[in-house]
Symmetry: C2
Subunit: 499 residues, 2 copies
């Protein structure tokens, strides 16, 4: 056994336990009986404790050291597998056990408090636990430090290498471009409505059509499947075992259809990761931002394009003749791209969505910098909503209590969504340059070369490259908002009729 | 932390990993995509290696020693939890790693060879791997020894404490009683047929009726659920998370209905295990034989009784009016209790089933004793079938290759099925004595007191008592075939019309 083989035995043990935990998590959201909640929590706690023990053991650290000098210098891929795992080991080892436990404990209490706070629309119920969460995040940032900004260490968990210094100007320009675009739309805003999406659509047909579409896009049902759950998600136990979930609403065509295409974007990413990375910590998506770029690419850039519906609309109308016989592909295309300022992040459109994210990013960043107090969040939230979106929540439930993320300690996560949008637009730009007939292909339902391009350029490398390295290699430039603004302005022009 | 608490931390860690492995096993049989087979095998191998490591570590052994002297002498239950775990640790430690690995490897090869052998009905394809399996079992028996008979050590895995010396005379008398009974039936054998069971029954209704019935029997759908799989089974991840599976055949009413009642018997057992045994190795069924007694009690003694169908038949006829409107409960009762000599164990009835088991037991025992060679199995099988059942398989596929058990190394398992039948009849005898109106209750669909009797007497103790201790305590006697022969003779008399 080489030193690398010995390290592989350690990496694969941890990866297998993590996969088992993921199966338990999937089961919990799909099929687990209600009475099993407590037992499942104990099983998952045991598995995560084991993972943490194995990741931080001296045996693991020694194996990493030995493997580093063992792998041939020209075997870049293997070197990256080792250095990625080393990064994970170092990060795990930096956080003391008691902090990890306290964070898990606080998250459990905070999630419960958040639910109650949202129910009664009373931020004060959540406030003490959010204060505790921020305090723990600051301590965590300190252990992980040093960094220019304490928030950098939290960003790094979801988008390795990204910093506040880099992100702030991009988000500033994105906001300005978005506000300009919204102003341009204003005169013809009333011309687009989405009433057609709220007619009656039989649930079983929604699922059948959506499943058929994702399979045509390239999600393999040989190495994946689709189930129902309260909140849609994608989880992966191996590149050969990828699970998607969706939910179906009788009077909202978007939920199942676009939700499942979104998850299938995540799923195709997981299915496309190089087989040589299996059972290592490199056999995952490169970051949350890159992952979101894949889901949003398929959901928005492909499946909300006019060309896509040239191909897909006849299929959809065949499934729902009663609801869609009076529609043309073009009308349908306009409906699914309606842009409107609203209170709710999840329900917002492709353009205004980013304003919701920028607001959350600024609040998180200022909390960590100490320039914003938790108690002041409701007021700051409403003020920012008014300034950037022109709407004010009537209460905190529909305002600063709408998202689950802070309650589970996911501070630093929100930017991933907008990064995904920016990356997706950059990838679309690069793909269009390399494949001039890409729009024609979409209109013909010929998705295979698009998926293949993604597989080769993005999926295959897994976590062996940093997000910034992937974007630079594939798009020839670092992160920028320009491609997204170009893309979204062009589309808005087609939908709202301006140039 | 007391020494017991420290041991509990070790026991619960192992139990949680075993539960996680069970979830992965359930998923594999129900929902896992085909492409995931290889990845799942690796995940399960990692979990079982971990369990073995934890069970045999010095830390575990020291914790057992400390806990033994720590638990109060009057806390019998806790003492039993410790001694049961100690028994498991000792057993695990006796088997060297390389033997365990070789057995797992051989089982994988043997299962494949068995499938091919059965497909082409050629025992010689399976023979070398069965020879290897027997050799490994002999080595295993030697490590586990000493014992009067090498087969004792294999029996012990499934029925702790049971020996060849004890089992042989019971099986001898059971065979004799069974053959006598079959002779008594002979004159009126043609009067009963089961054609009605092979009419058309819509699959979704079969599942709905069967699920309704098991829920009325007492299987909780709050802490359990039902799914479909190729081979029906019951698995449990906690007493609050018990999964049953079934299969449905359009033209065989028995498969889903009686299959699910059978699995629900296993399931109610798991759901009834004392909460204080959770996450210890005592929080399981006492043995395979006791487990089968629960499934067979509900499947045969309850759900194949005339009283049961007084209650259940109107429900079944409501679900299938086309198929059952010409039937009476009594006719239906006779059909589901038809007794007929056949080649196939799984499809055989309550009476002849045991002859199939006794044949397999004798072959296994003689293989381990060295008085029978693997190469001679086909000839011996056919000869024994002819003598005891009066039928001879036309080929090995329908003969000695019909069961999967030997291919996965499950030598010693078969007796559990018949033990289950004998235990169930003994329990029925004890229950009837304590609850004189039990037949009336069944006819009224009042199953709750029966289930409660089982829960209190059998389920609650989990593995804190040996099977022989449970039977002695509940039935006032050790293992006997008498109650089963009495029960089955009385029933055959009702069905075939003799006294």
């Amino acid at each position: 056994m080489t030193a690398y083989d010995q390290l592989f035995a350690i990496m694969s043990r941890t990866a297998d336990i993590a996969s088992a935990a993921a199966v338990l998590g999937w089961d919990q959201e799909t099929y687990m009986p209600d009475g099993a909640v407590a037992a499942r929590a104990e099983q998952l706690a045991t598995l995560s404790t084991l993972i943490h023990q194995f990741m931080t053991s001296d045996e693991t650290k020694r194996a990493v050291e030995r493997a580093k000098s063992d792998v041939a210098t020209d075997d870049v891929r293997k070197q990256r597998i080792v250095s990625t795992f080393e990064r994970d080991v170092i990060r795990s080892s930096k956080l003391p056990d008691d902090l990890v436990h306290e964070a898990a404990h606080t998250a459990a209490l905070a999630q419960d408090a958040w639910k109650r706070a949202r129910m009664s629309s009373d931020f004060r119920i959540f406030q003490p636990l959010l204060e505790k969460t921020v305090e723990l995040k600051l301590r965590q940032a300190e252990y992980l430090g040093p960094a220019e900004h304490p928030y950098d260490n939290l960003l790094d968990e979801y988008e390795p290498g990204l910093t506040v210094g880099e992100l702030t100007p991009v988000f500033e320009r994105l906001r300005k471009g978005t506000v300009d675009l919204l102003n341009d739309i204003q005169p013809t805003a009333h011309e687009v409505n989405d009433d057609v999406l709220h007619r009656f659509y039989a649930p079983d047909r929604q699922l059948a059509v959506a499943t058929d579409i994702i399979s045509k896009l390239g999600f393999s049902l040989e190495t994946g499947r689709v189930d129902l759950s309260a909140h849609p998600f994608c989880t992966s136990f191996a590149s050969t075992d990828v699970r998607l979930t969706t939910r179906i609403r009788e009077h909202d065509l978007r939920s199942c259809l676009f939700g499942l295409i979104h998850e299938a974007g995540h799923g195709m990413y997981e299915q496309g990761i190089g087989a040589d990375l299996a059972r290592t910590s490199s056999g995952q998506g490169a970051s949350m931002g890159i992952h979101e770029s894949q889901s949003l690419f398929w959901e928005n850039i492909i499946a909300r394009s006019e060309e896509f519906w040239q191909w897909a609309f006849p299929r959809l109308r065949d499934a729902f003749p009663d609801a869609l016989s009076d529609q043309t592909p073009r009308e349908f295309y306009r409906s699914i791209n309606r842009i409107v300022r609203s209170l709710n992040r999840v329900e917002s459109d492709e353009v205004t969505y980013n304003l919701h994210i920028i607001l959350r990013f600024e609040i998180e960043r200022d909390l960590l910098a100490g320039t914003l107090k938790v108690a002041d969040i409701p007021a700051v939230w409403n003020e920012k909503m008014s300034t950037s979106l022109g709407v004010v929540p009537p209460n905190d439930a529909e305002g600063c209590l709408q998202d689950v993320h802070w309650s589970f300690g996911g501070i630093g996560y929100f930017p991933s969504y907008t990064l995904g949008k920016l990356y997706a637009a950059m990838q679309w730009q690069a793909l269009s340059a390399e494949m001039p007939d890409v729009r024609e292909r979409i209109a013909n339902g010929d998705f295979q070369p698009i998926r293949e391009w993604m597989r080769t350029n993005i999926h295959d490398v897994g976590r062996t490259e940093l997000p910034s390295e992937i974007i630079q290699r594939v798009c020839g430039r670092p992160l920028t908002e320009i491609d997204f603004l170009d893309y979204v302005r062009a589309k808005a022009g087609r939908v709202y009729g301006f140039a």
